[in-house]
C-alpha cells in the first residue's frame, strides 16, 4: 500500500468516525472490482509512443503482450439518517486506470475522481479529488524528422522516447455554513440577514512534458538546420485557489452575494534561453524560449438579486480581477524595467424580467467587460528607435465590450411561448500601433480592427403541440456594420431547433430531432497597401456551419430496448488566400508591399457520428447490452484550383473510429453481481500525405486497434442484509 493510499484511507476513516456514533444511521454501499486485459495491435503497442486511444486513456505497460490491470472501478457509500436523509455520501470512480499488474507502477492511479458530500446540521461540505492524464500525439514523426528530406531546416531536439502529456491531480472543496440551522433558535435574527457563509479552496498539481516548437531569428542560427526546432520541455505547475463568500438578505429586501477569490499559479519548470541551446554557432542571447509567467490573480465580485413574486425579478453584479505577473521575469523584461506586467479586468451585468400582463412579459440584460493591459510601452522591448527586438504587430492595450438585449415574450400557457428578441454586441479595441518610422504593421494593413458592432434580431418559440410532442426553435438574422475580425460575419442567418416525441403506446418510443446552423459572410475586409497604385484585395469570407441529428429509443417488447443516434455536422468556409510580395511590417519605409489574391480556398469539414445498440433482459437476474458507434471526420480543402489541389493533401484529416461494446451481467445473489465485457476500438487514419522536400506532414500512420476485456464483480450492501 502506497503512502498516498494509506493517507486516503486514514482521512476517510476520520470522516466516518463521527457518524458511527449515531444510532439511527443506515449505511448503503456498492463497489465493483474489475480486471481489465488489453491487446494493442501495431504500430502503437510501444510505451514510448502515444497512440490515438492513449490521448485520454493511459495504459501502463502498453508494450506487454496483454497489459493487465486490476482495481476498484467504483465505490459508493451513503450514510442515511431518519427518513433516508443523506448525512454523508461518498462517490469514487476509477473508470479507465487501476492498479497495473503489468508495466510501471509509478503512476498506478490515473483518471480517478472522488466526491464526498457531508450534511451535518447547518453545514454543507463538498470535497472533491480528481486525477487525470491526457496525452498529445507527436506532431513530428520522430526526433530526427525522418520523412523530411535533406536540407530541411527542421531540427527536432526531442527524444524518441519522450511522450507529451499532462497529468493533473487536484483536491478541493467548499464549505457552506447555514447560520439559520447552526444558530437556531437564538441566532435567527442574524441568520435572517446573513443566511450563508462559504469558504472554498483548491490545489492542483500538473506534471508532464510538452513539445515546444519555435523558430530562432536569423542572427541566432548559423546553419539552415538550426533555425526551426522542437524541444521537450517539462511541465511542472502548481495552482492554489482560496476564496470566501457571504450571502446577505438584509430585511428580506434583496439577496446580496459578496465573494473574494485568490489564485496562485506557478510554473516551476525552467525556461530555456536561446544561448542555452547546444548548437554550434548559436549566438548567446538573453532571449527566452516559450517563457510562461507565474501569476497571482485576485477576483472580487458582488451580485444582487431581488424577486417580486411572479411579477418581476432583477439582478445585477460587478466583478473586478487583477492578473499580475510575479516571480521570475525574463532577462529582457528586467533590462527594460518591465516589472508591472498586469491585466486588470472589470465586469458588470444586469438583467431582469417583468410580467406586463398575465401571459405577456419582457426580459432584458446587459453585460459590460473592460480589459486593461496598459503595460509600460516606452521600453526597448517595444520602442523601435531603441533597438531590436521591437514591436511590429498592433498591441491590444484595452478592450471594452458591451452586450445587451431584450425579449418580448408571449406565453399563453406554461408549455407554450413565443418571443421576439434583440441582442447587440459592441466591442471597442484600443490598438497600439508602433512608431511607423520603424518596421511595423500599420492600421491600413492590419487584420484586426478597432470596432465590432454586431446586431441580431430573432424569434424563438416553444410548444407542446400534441400528446407527447414538443418542439422549440429559434431563428434570427445578424447584421454587423463593423467587424473586428474577418471571421465575424457582417450578414448571417442562424437557427436552432429541437423536437421531441414520446409515443403514448404500449411499446414506448422516444424520438428527438435537433439541429442548428449559421450561414453568413463578411465582405467588409480589405487588405490595403500604403503605396499608391497597388491593389487592395477584398478578403471575402463566407461560412455555412450547421449540424443536425436524431435520437430514438424504442422498446418493441418488455425485455428489449433499442436505441440509436445520428449526428451530422458540416462546416464550409470560403475565402481568398491573400499573399504579398513582402512582409506587411516593411511598409512603408522599407518596401512598398503589394497584396494580391491567390486562388480562393474552400475549406470543408464533415463530421458524422452514429450510435446504435440495445439492452436485453435475458432473465430476472441477467441482462446484456451491446452498442456500436462510428465517428467519421473529414476536413480538407475542396475546390479545383492549383492552390487547393496542392494544400489538400498537406492538411487533410480523414479518419474513421469504430467501437463495439458488449457487456453481460448476472446477479448471483442479492448484492452480488458478476459481469463480463468486451470492447473493440479501431481508429483508421486515411490521410496519405506525400513526402516532399522540407515536409513536416510526412506520412505518419496513426491507425490503432485495441481490444479490451473486462471481468468484474459488484458487491452491494444488500449482500449483508439478505433475509
Amino acid at each position: 500500500m502506497t503512502r498516498s493510499m494509506r493517507s486516503g484511507a486514514t482521512v476517510i476513516a476520520m470522516w466516518l468516525l463521527p457518524f458511527s456514533a449515531l444510532a439511527d444511521v443506515e449505511a448503503k454501499w456498492s463497489t465493483s472490482v474489475e480486471a481489465v486485459v488489453k491487446d494493442f495491435e501495431s504500430p502503437v503497442n510501444d510505451d514510448d509512443a502515444t497512440g490515438f486511444f492513449d490521448l485520454y486513456e493511459f495504459t501502463s505497460g502498453k508494450s506487454y503482450t496483454n497489459p493487465f490491470q486490476l482495481g476498484i472501478s467504483d465505490l459508493d457509500l451513503d450514510l442515511l439518517g431518519a427518513q433516508e436523509t443523506p448525512l454523508m455520501q461518498f462517490r469514487f470512480q476509477s473508470p479507465t486506470s487501476n492498479l497495473s499488474l503489468t508495466g510501471s507502477n509509478e503512476t498506478p492511479f490515473l483518471n480517478q475522481r472522488a466526491d464526498l458530500f457531508m450534511r451535518p446540521e447547518g453545514v454543507l461540505l463538498d470535497l472533491d479529488y480528481r486525477r487525470m492524464r491526457t496525452d498529445e500525439l507527436r506532431l513530428f514523426p520522430n526526433p530526427s524528422g525522418i520523412g523530411t528530406e535533406t536540407a530541411s531546416r527542421f531540427n527536432d531536439d526531442t527524444s524518441a522516447g519522450d511522450r507529451f502529456y499532462t497529468q493533473r491531480t487536484r483536491v478541493g472543496g467548499a464549505m457552506r455554513l447555514r447560520l439559520g440551522e447552526l444558530l437556531e433558535p437564538r441566532g435567527q435574527p442574524l441568520a435572517e440577514n446573513l443566511p450563508e457563509i462559504s469558504l472554498r479552496g483548491r490545489y492542483e498539481k500538473r506534471d508532464g512534458q510538452r513539445q515546444f516548437r519555435y523558430m530562432l531569428d536569423s542572427n541566432d542560427w548559423s546553419s539552415p538546420t538550426s533555425s526551426w526546432r522542437a524541444r521537450t520541455s517539462k511541465l511542472d505547475q502548481r495552482v492554489g485557489n482560496a476564496g470566501a463568500g457571504l450571502v446577505l438578505t438584509p430585511g428580506g429586501l434583496f439577496t446580496l452575494s459578496l465573494d473574494i477569490d485568490g489564485e496562485s499559479f506557478r510554473e516551476n519548470a525552467p525556461a530555456y534561453r536561446v544561448n542555452q541551446i547546444a548548437d554550434p554557432g548559436v549566438i548567446p542571447s538573453t532571449a527566452t524560449v516559450n517563457f510562461i509567467p507565474d501569476t497571482d490573480r485576485i477576483t472580487g465580485s458582488a451580485q444582487l438579486q431581488r424577486r417580486f413574486g411572479e411579477r418581476a425579478a432583477l439582478y445585477g453584479g460587478f466583478q473586478g480581477t487583477s492578473l499580475k505577473q510575479v516571480g521570475n521575469f525574463t532577462p529582457n523584461q528586467l533590462a527594460a524595467g518591465l516589472r508591472d506586467n498586469a491585466v486588470r479586468s472589470y465586469s458588470a451585468n444586469a438583467g431582469g424580467n417583468l410580467m406586463i400582463v398575465r401571459g405577456v412579459s419582457a426580459n432584458a440584460f446587459f453585460k459590460y467587460d473592460n480589459r486593461d493591459n496598459r503595460i509600460q510601452r516606452n521600453t526597448m522591448l517595444f520602442n523601435p528607435s531603441t533597438g531590436d527586438p521591437n514591436q511590429t504587430s498592433p498591441f491590444l492595450e484595452a478592450l471594452e465590450e458591451l452586450e445587451a438585449g431584450g425579449e418580448l415574450v408571449y406565453r399563453p400557457q406554461s408549455t407554450h411561448l413565443v418571443a421576439l428578441g434583440y441582442r447587440g454586441r459592441w466591442v471597442n479595441r484600443d490598438l497600439d500601433f508602433a512608431d511607423p518610422t520603424g518596421q511595423v504593421i500599420l492600421p491600413t494593413n492590419t487584420v484586426i480592427r478597432d470596432d465590432s458592432n454586431i446586431q441580431q434580431l430573432y424569434l424563438r418559440g416553444r410548444a407542446r403541440l400534441l400528446r407527447g410532442l414538443g418542439m422549440s426553435a429559434e431563428a434570427g438574422y445578424q447584421s454587423a456594420p463593423n467587424t473586428g475580425y474577418i471571421r465575424e460575419l457582417t450578414q448571417a442567418y442562424y437557427f436552432s431547433f429541437r423536437g421531441t416525441y414520446s409515443a403514448p403506446t404500449s411499446h414506448p418510443l422516444d424520438f428527438a430531432l435537433f439541429g442548428n446552423g449559421e450561414f453568413g459572410k463578411n465582405t467588409d475586409f480589405q487588405q490595403r497597401s500604403e503605396a499608391p497604385g497597388f491593389s487592395n484585395p477584398n478578403r471575402d469570407f463566407q461560412r455555412s456551419n450547421y449540424s443536425y441529428g436524431v435520437t430514438a429509443t424504442y422498446m418493441p417488447r418488455k425485455p428489449l430496448t433499442l436505441f440509436s443516434s445520428f449526428f451530422q455536422h458540416r462546416d464550409a468556409q470560403m475565402f481568398d488566400l491573400v499573399r504579398s510580395n513582402a512582409v506587411r511590417y516593411l511598409e512603408p519605409t522599407a518596401a512598398a508591399v503589394s497584396f494580391f489574391k491567390d486562388n480562393p480556398l474552400d475549406y470543408r469539414a464533415d463530421l458524422t457520428n452514429v450510435l446504435f445498440g440495445g439492452t436485453y433482459q435475458i432473465s430476472e437476474r441477467t441482462e446484456a447490452t451491446i452498442s456500436y458507434s462510428y465517428t467519421h471526420s473529414n476536413s480538407h480543402f475542396e475546390g479545383n484550383n492549383a492552390t487547393s489541389n496542392t494544400l489538400r493533401d498537406a492538411s487533410k484529416i480523414l479518419s474513421d473510429i469504430h467501437s463495439v461494446d458488449a457487456r453481460v451481467g448476472h446477479w448471483l445473489a442479492d448484492g452480488l453481481r458478476v459481469y463480463v465485457g468486451y470492447r473493440f476500438d479501431d481508429y483508421l487514419d486515411h490521410t496519405t500525405v506525400p513526402a516532399g522536400t522540407d515536409s513536416v506532414a510526412t506520412t505518419f500512420d496513426r491507425s490503432t486497434r485495441q481490444h479490451t476485456g473486462t471481468l468484474g464483480v459488484t458487491l452491494t450492501s444488500a449482500l449483508l442484509h439478505r433475509p
Binding site: 475522481r113 463568500g245 499559479f265 491590444l396 465590450e401 479595441r429 469570407f541 494580391f596 458507434s629 522536400t693
Partner: protein, 311 residues
C-alpha cells in the same frame, strides 16, 4: 473573385433559406398561439381549486409508501403538502389531476435566497427555455444534489452531471465523441465544470477568456506580445466541445490562420533557395509553410520575446 460568385460548388438559394427560416418561425408562432393544450398530458403545477385542507404526511404515505424506490420524503424537505399543496381533493379522488406538482417557483421559494448559484435563474437559459427544476432534480431522490440519473450508453464513464446534461443535449454528446475533445465522456471533467446550469450565460461575469483561463492559466499570460484573439475570446479559434482537429481548433490549420492572415512570399516561399515573388504555391512550399502555422509560430498564445510569436 468576389464572395457572391459561384466557386464551383452548389449553393442553396438565399431566398430559399430565408423563406424556410421565416416559415419555420411562423409555424412555431402559430402553433404556440393556436394549438390546444392537452392538460392531462402534463402534471399540474397550479393550485387545485377547492383543495384547502391538509391531510398530513401519514395519509399520503398510506398509499405512497415509496416514490421511485425511496422513502417518499427526506427530512429536509418537510412534509408532502409543503410542496404538493393541500391533498384534500386528491385523497378523495385519487386522481393525479387533483394534486399539484411543484413548479420552479415553489423550489425557489426556499432555495433561492441561500444559494448564489440561483441568483440569475429567472433570466437564465434553462428557465427561458421552459426547463423546470424537477426536469433535472428529483426531490425524492437520495443522489447527491438530488440529480436525476439517466444512463447514457455511449457515456458509461461520465459522471452523473454529464449523463444528465447529454440526455437532452445530444448534439454536444456527439461532439464529445470527436477525436479532440475535453475529457468529459471519460469522466475526468463534468459539464458543470464549465457551465452553470442555473445561470444566465449571457451575463456571466468575467470576459471571454475568464472561464477557460481558470484551468489553462499557462495560456492566459499576461504576455508581453500577445495574439489579440487570445486576449479577447478563446472561442474565436477553439471549439470546446469537440473537433476533428488537434487542440480543439474550430477549423484545421492552415485554413484557420489563412482566413485572417495574408502570407508574405518573401518569407513563405523561401524554401532552400528563395522562389521568385508570385510563384505558384507548389507541393514543396505547401508542405513546409502551408500545413501547420504553429510549427514555427509555436508561441501562438503569446510570447515574451517575439512579436511574431515564434518563441
Amino acid at each position: 473573385m468576389t464572395a457572391g460568385t459561384d466557386r464551383g460548388r452548389p449553393r442553396s438559394s438565399k431566398r430559399g433559406r430565408a423563406a424556410l427560416l421565416g416559415l419555420s418561425a411562423l409555424a412555431v408562432a402559430c402553433a404556440t398561439v393556436l394549438a390546444p393544450i392537452p392538460a392531462q398530458r402534463f402534471h399540474r403545477t397550479t393550485a387545485v381549486k377547492g383543495a384547502v385542507e391538509h391531510v398530513g404526511a401519514d395519509e399520503c404515505t398510506a398509499c405512497h409508501d415509496q416514490v421511485e424506490g425511496h422513502a417518499p420524503i427526506a427530512a429536509y424537505h418537510g412534509d408532502c403538502e409543503s410542496c404538493h399543496g393541500p391533498g384534500e381533493r386528491h385523497a378523495e379522488s385519487e386522481d393525479v389531476a387533483d394534486i399539484r406538482f411543484p413548479s420552479s417557483e415553489d423550489c425557489l421559494a426556499c432555495h433561492e435566497a441561500s444559494r448564489t448559484t440561483h441568483l440569475s435563474w429567472s433570466t437564465g437559459e434553462h428557465e427561458r427555455s421552459g426547463v423546470m427544476c424537477s426536469d433535472c432534480h428529483n426531490p425524492h431522490s437520495r443522489e447527491p444534489h438530488l440529480l436525476r440519473q439517466p444512463r447514457q450508453v455511449n457515456f458509461p464513464h461520465a459522471d452523473a452531471d454529464t449523463q444528465l446534461c447529454v440526455s437532452c443535449h445530444a448534439d454536444v454528446a456527439s461532439r464529445l465523441s470527436l477525436p479532440s475533445h475535453h475529457p468529459v465522456r471519460e469522466g475526468m471533467l463534468s459539464c458543470t465544470d464549465c457551465h452553470a446550469p442555473h445561470g444566465d450565460r449571457r451575463t456571466a461575469l468575467g470576459g471571454g477568456t475568464a472561464l477557460c483561463s481558470g484551468c489553462h492559466q499557462d495560456h492566459a499570460g499576461p504576455w508581453v506580445f500577445e495574439h489579440a484573439p487570445v486576449a479577447e475570446d478563446c472561442t474565436l479559434c477553439h471549439n470546446p466541445h469537440g473537433t476533428a482537429t488537434v487542440n480543439l481548433l474550430d477549423t484545421n490549420q492552415p485554413a484557420l490562420c489563412l482566413s485572417c492572415h495574408s502570407t508574405p512570399d518573401s518569407w513563405h516561399l523561401r524554401v532552400g533557395a528563395a522562389l521568385p515573388v508570385g510563384s505558384p504555391i507548389n507541393g514543396t512550399v505547401a508542405s513546409a509553410f502551408y500545413t501547420r502555422c504553429t510549427d514555427c509560430h509555436g508561441a501562438i498564445h503569446g510570447s515574451y520575446e517575439d512579436p511574431h510569436l515564434r518563441k
